[in-house]
Structure formats: structure tokens, C-alpha cells
């Protein structure tokens, strides 16, 4: 906040004296020189400019890009008036890796490897929409066993992702114990993903036409044990966090998103379902994955506040664990890979597939010109749209509520910036 008073602001060519020669006697009386007059005017002008610049009162607080609260390198420029936020603007892009440009020079298996790393916590879920789009273009459908395995791993990726959220949101609010329980119990799920695919965070298991390999012996039984541990963890979080009066008073009524505003800003996933909108792509979109064979329900909550977002995600985790058990019980036998040529050249065309990823709706728009590499892949990520509501949502809240609201919106930086 600087204002400069510089005498030389007015250009010297405008050297007309204020007091003209007609009233020259006044100038003589007042004994004012041109120089002083000009300096006076310049001072007034500078003052006026400074007043306009200083119009917004209050302090500008720069949260991030290095900060314990933001899930990565997100920068939020908040203008504060005491403890209240006047305006807050997220500035993304500190982690942009140029995915869409990278995909133009990579073959389809290579792209599958890369896109694992967009939402690095919901591991398997990143690959699925892209593979489905490529299969759509090639007019190939994976066999039922592969679809079941895909759906099971998809749901396990969702469980791993949301478990992190269930531990992380209390930490943002100050209760440090929950995140240790989350990481402890998430290990069981990640171990199962690793036994099947070889990688905990980046499975790279999908191939066009099916999955890479079949499940190892004993996997089904171990996964069911892991799902039981997930449910125990959900009960523990309910006791430790959700029932806690302090947590509720911090979250209830904070960051309310009305359903039409949510839809207008392009929110998706649990954020929208917590505002009462009954929208779930697993049920509504026509996807070849195995969700239509399962008996499950979509959880919504009528309030749109931070507590309902936490609540909806907790219920979804439990629901996913039941879904995984159903999938494994009903696993059909058969091949895991459809007949596809060894070198994959996807025929020309365009395809857009959107799936219900853990963070929201993720979609890949694949344009192919019939070559080894896609011509253009546009990645629609959930967190990018989820963050777009934050300037609207963060107006007028207190500084501690910034942490609550951002934690409840739950974004992953890789998902925002790609």
C-alpha cells in the first residue's frame, strides 16, 4: 500500500501558470510561483489516486502455495477485514504438468500410465473413463469378468480416496487423531490393490479391451476382510468425529451451497449430493461397468453445508465397501481380455465418457485420427469445477471457516491442475 507524492508528475510542457497575467496582481499579491502551484496540484492528484487505490480496506492474506491446509500447491488470495473474508480468489496452476499436451505424443498404453497420476489418491478411477472412451471408439467391449474386476478396483480406489478425506477434514479442523486411523486402515485397501495390480497408488491395470491380469488366489477373501476393516473405521470416525459437538458446531451451517448454485457452478460428486441433488453417474450414465448389476443406493443430504458433505462421503464409503463385497461374490468366470490387436490403432472419431470418480465427475474427451497416439484428449476433472465455487462460497466467512470449507469441498491438486 504505497502512495507516492512526486512533484514531477505533471509534464513540464504544461507550464501554463494558473494565475494568468490578467490577474497578475493577485499572483504578485499571493507570491505563488508556478512551480509551487504545479506541485500543489500534483500532490492533490496523487492523493486522489492513492485514495482510489486504498479503497479496499483490510489486509490481504496470501494462503499458500506452501501451506499445511491446502492439499498441495494451491494459492488463495484472501482480503480480510479483521477475521472476516471480504473476497477470496483461488489461483491454481502451480502444479500444471501439461497432461493434455503430453497425451498428443504418447500411445494409448503410455497415456494410461500417465493419467494414473492425475488424481493420485483415487488411483484406478483415473484410467477408467479414458479406457472406456478408447473402447467406445474401437467398438470393443471388455468381457464381464474384466468389467467386474474393473468396478471392484474402481470402488476400492474410491474407498481409499474418501478414507483419506475422512481423516484429513478433522485434521484441518484441529483433531489430529483421525488421520492416523485413516492411514492405518487405508493400508489394508492399498495392500489389496497392490496384490492385484502391482502398484499401490498407480495401478496401471486397465488395458483397452479388459484388464491386464487376473486376480491372484486368496484375493477375494482378503479383500472382504479389508472391507470389514473399512466399515470398522467408518464406525470409529462416526464416534470420534461426527458425533463430536465441536466438530458439528464448526461444520453445521458453514459453507451452504444451494442446489441450483451448485449445479450452475458445475459441481459434481458428493459436493452436489450433499446439497440434495440426486445425481450419480454410476446409476444415471450408461456405462459398461458392473454397477447396474448391484444393489446399492445413492446417499444425499438436504442441507448443503460442510457437515453434510462429510456425512455423505462417510455413507458412500460404507456403501462402496458393500458394493465391493457384492461384486466379489458375483464375480463371473471367463476371460479378462477381449480380442484386440497387439499394436493398438484406435479408429478415427470422437468420444466423451464421464464416470463418477471419487472426487466428482471426471471425463475424457478423446479425439482420434486413426493413429497410434490420440489427436487430442481433453480431461474434464472434478476438482477444477469444484474449486470454481470457492470465491462465491468464501465471501463473508471467518478465516477459520476457509479451512473448513476448502477441506469439505475436497480437491486434490493434481486433479485441479493436471
Amino acid at each position: 500500500m504505497t502512495g507516492t507524492h512526486e512533484a514531477g508528475v505533471v509534464s513540464p510542457s504544461e507550464h501554463t501558470p494558473l494565475v494568468s497575467g490578467a490577474n497578475g496582481d493577485i499572483a504578485a499579491d499571493l507570491d505563488i510561483t508556478n512551480e509551487q502551484q504545479l506541485r500543489y496540484i500534483a500532490g492533490q492528484a496523487a492523493d486522489a489516486r492513492v485514495n482510489i487505490e486504498l479503497e479496499t480496506e483490510g489486509m490481504t492474506l496470501n494462503i499458500g502455495p506452501q501451506h499445511p491446509a491446502t492439499h498441495g500447491t494451491l494459492r488463495i488470495v484472501a482480503r480480510l477485514d479483521g477475521e472476516q473474508v471480504i473476497s477470496a480468489e483461488p489461483i491454481m496452476g502451480y502444479m500444471h504438468r501439461g497432461y493434455e499436451k503430453l497425451t498428443e505424443v504418447r500411445t494409448y498404453p503410455q497415456v494410461t500410465t500417465l493419467i494414473n497420476r492425475i488424481d493420485w489418491v483415487g488411483s484406478f478411477a483415473n484410467e477408467v473413463p479414458f479406457i472406456l472412451a478408447a473402447e467406445d471408439l474401437m467398438d470393443v467391449e471388455a468381457p464381464p469378468r474384466a468389467q467386474y474386476i474393473r468396478t471392484a478396483l474402481f470402488e476400492m480406489g474410491r474407498i481409499a480416496n474418501i478414507m483419506l478425506f475422512l481423516g484429513d477434514m478433522p485434521v484441518q479442523l484441529g483433531g489430529v487423531t483421525a488421520i492416523f486411523y485413516a492411514f492405518r486402515d487405508r493400508e489394508f485397501v492399498l495392500n489389496q490393490i497392490e496384490s492385484a495390480t502391482g502398484g499401490r497408488f498407480h495401478p496401471n491395470f486397465n488395458r483397452i479391451g479388459g484388464v491386464k491380469d487376473d486376480l491372484p488366489a486368496g484375493w477375494i477373501k482378503e479383500t472382504k476382510t479389508a472391507m470389514q476393516k473399512v466399515r470398522d473405521f467408518c464406525d470409529e470416525i462416526e464416534d470420534l468425529v461426527m458425533g463430536n459437538e465441536i466438530f458439528q458446531s464448526r461444520c453445521r451451517g458453514v459453507g451452504i451451497i444451494p442446489p441450483d448454485v451448485g449445479k450452475a457452478y458445475g459441481l459434481s460428486g458428493a459436493n452436489l449430493r450433499a446439497s440434495g441433488v440426486d445425481w450419480d453417474l454410476r446409476r444415471d450414465a450408461d456405462s459398461p461397468l458392473a454397477w447396474k448389476d448391484l444393489d446399492w443406493k445413492v446417499w444425499t443430504h438436504p442441507d448443503g453445508d460442510s457437515f453434510s458433505r462429510f456425512w455423505v462421503r462417510l455413507q458412500e464409503t460404507r456403501e462402496s465397501s458393500y458394493m465391493v463385497e457384492q461384486l466379489l461374490d458375483g464375480l463371473p468366470s471367463g476371460p479378462i481380455m477381449a480380442k484386440v490387436p497387439r499394436i493398438i490403432k484406435v479408429p478415427a472419431g470422437e468420444s466423451y465418457v464421464q464416470t463418477e470418480n471419487p472426487l466428482g465427475a471426471m471425463g475424457y474427451y478423446v479425439i482420434s485420427k486413426g493413429e497410434l497416439t490420440p489427436f487430442r484428449v481433453k480431461i474434464r476433472t472434478a476438482s477444477f469445477s469444484n474449486m470454481s465455487i470457492s470465491p462465491w462460497l468464501l465471501e463473508g466467512v471467518y478465516v477459520p471457516d476457509i479451512a473448513t470449507i476448502l477441506a469439505s469441498l475436497y480437491f486434490i491438486l493434481g486433479d485441479i491442475d493436471r
Partner: protein, 180 residues
């Protein structure tokens, strides 16, 4: 009965975890937090990763014909292959000498490697295998380039193919016998 306030149930959860960690065998036995906690005290105790874990890539260079497919398909271009053609004796007497590819150099730079497995999948001759070994950190980043002999050494650590779940139609493959 009035509902217990959430604050008290929260305290109960932490207390319960405390007792489960300190007395994992029940209150009658002496405290054993090292056993009750979920921490694995690496490097004193090592957890074995599952057999399929993508730790390091091993090369069975008897099968490798330097076809360059893995080097081409690698997303990071971290595989360096050099080979030359040799003349091998003909199969039958009086026949033409055959041209064979001989592998000179096969390096994988594990500092660049994304551990994606495309090279292992794409190899038409089954020369590359995954091994769950992960403890190969080095002091100098140049040492992360594993050359042909080191990659062949990793073959000792490649586990046998495991059985599949019921209903699978995929056959378990056999590892090649150790190279000469």
C-alpha cells in the same frame, strides 16, 4: 437413557485405541506397544511386498533379441539398448548362415523409470520380468542406471507365478530356467 455426548464417545475412542496399542494381548499380559501399534519398524523389521509388486525389472537376456520394442514403448525413454547382428551357424549343414541379433547393452535408468510395466507387457519374447525388490537406493543418481549384468542378477528375486482366483481362464506362466 440419555445419549452420551459426542465429546465423551470421542474420548472413548482414543482411550480404546490407547489400550489396544499398549495391551494388545489383553490387560493381563504385560504392555507390548511395539506389537500393538501398527508401525512396522523398518529397517529392523521388514514387510514383504506382495509378489506382484512392481519393484524392479529383471532381464533374462537369453530371450532378448534387441527388437527395441520396450525402448520404443517406454513413456520415459529410460531403456537404452544397443545390439549388433551376428552370423550364427546354419541349422542344417549346407544351409545359409542365420542372422541373429546380439545384445550389447541393455540399461534401464531407474531414476527415470515410472514403474508402469509397459516394457514388460510389450516384450514379445518374455525377456523382462517384474520383481518385488525395492531396496536399491543409491548415493549417486548415476548408479541408478542398472546395466545388463545387474538386471540379470535381479532375475534371482523374481517370484514364481502365483495361482489365480477361481474362474480365471488365464494360465499361469512359468519362469524361464536360469540363463547360462
Amino acid at each position: 437413557m440419555p445419549k452420551v455426548p459426542g465429546l465423551v464417545t470421542g474420548l472413548g475412542v482414543t482411550a480404546k485405541t490407547f489400550f489396544k496399542t499398549v495391551f494388545p494381548d489383553g490387560p493381563t499380559k504385560p504392555p507390548a506397544p511395539s506389537k500393538g501399534a501398527h508401525t512396522v519398524q523398518y529397517p529392523h523389521v521388514k514387510e514383504a511386498p506382495p509378489d506382484r509388486a512392481r519393484g524392479v525389472i529383471a532381464l533374462h537376456h537369453d530371450n532378448c533379441t534387441a527388437c527395441m520394442l520396450c525402448a520404443r514403448e517406454c513413456p520415459d525413454w529410460c531403456i537404452y539398448i544397443e545390439g549388433h547382428k551376428e552370423l550364427a551357424p546354419p541349422r542344417r549343414a549346407g544351409g545359409k548362415p542365420r542372422q541373429k541379433n546380439k545384445l550389447d547393452r541393455f540399461d534401464i535408468d531407474f531414476a527415470l523409470c515410472m514403474y508402469c510395466g509397459i516394457c514388460v507387457d510389450v516384450c514379445p519374447f518374455d525377456a523382462l520380468f517384474w520383481s518385488p525388490e525395492f531396496e536399491f537406493s543409491e548415493m549417486k543418481i548415476a548408479d541408478m542406471l542398472h546395466d545388463k549384468s545387474r538386471l540379470a542378477d535381479w532375475m534371482h528375486t523374481v517370484p514364481e507365478w502365483g495361482a489365480y482366483e477361481a474362474g480365471a481362464e488365464v494360465k499361469t506362466k512359468k519362469l524361464p530356467s536360469p540363463s547360462s
